[in-house]
Every structure is written in C-alpha cells, then in structure tokens.
Symmetry: C2
Subunit: 66 residues, 2 copies
C-alpha cells in the first residue's frame, strides 16, 4: 500500500533525512521516498499503518502536511 | 578573538546545527553563532585557532565559504 503526503518546509538534505527517519519509525511503514523539489513524500506501508501517526511524525519534525 | 565567516547554502535549522557542530570541533573554537538569513557565522576563538581548519570544517558539511 502506498500513501503520498504533501509536505511543506523541507529545504535540504537534512530535512529530507529528518522526515524519512521519523516516518520509518511509524508502525507498519516499510519505505519512504522524499522528493525535495515537489514536497511529495511517498510512503510504502502495510494496510495496518495509521495515517494520523504518519502525519504526526512529520509535524513533530517541524514540517506541515498539507 | 572573533572571526566572521560568510557561508552559502544553509537553508534550515539542521544546516545551522551541522555548521555549528562542525566548527565547535575545531581546536580553539569557543562559540559559534549562525545567522541563517545572512549566512554570517560568527566564531569566537582563541588566537591559536586555525582559520583554514574552520573553513574546511564548514566545507566538509557541504557548504561554501565565500
């Protein structure tokens, strides 16, 4: 299963790493792919993964999910 | 003694932390203050501190000293 989050405020490789790392800590998330130019974050995950947790993980790093 | 480096490419708080952390590892450096908006990095240091090492520490993090 794949979910694409639209994330605002990521500007550099450190931001990308922060978001990827946080999302990979969410239960059921298998892989994360950040496109810095577009802000699109593709998350591959089990059906059981909770999208609210994904959003919160990103927001805790200081970025907005729109 | 204080030296101001002009650094290009820092875009976010992670960049700031990376530059500050690297400079604080340089022998003789006591304090570092990054202004993200201007790119000015103020380094407080002993007279013995080596400015080439400061420049290299920043460049190793992927930023240009101009």
């Amino acid at each position: 299963m794949e979910t694409t989050l639209k994330v605002e405020g990521m500007t550099c490789g450190h931001c990308k790493s922060a978001v990827e790392g946080a999302l990979k800590e969410v239960d059921g998330v298998n892989d994360v792919n950040v496109d810095l130019d577009t802000g699109n974050v593709k998350v591959s995950h089990a059906d059981s993964a909770n999208k609210v947790e994904m959003r919160e993980a990103v927001e805790e790093q200081g970025y907005d999910v729109v």
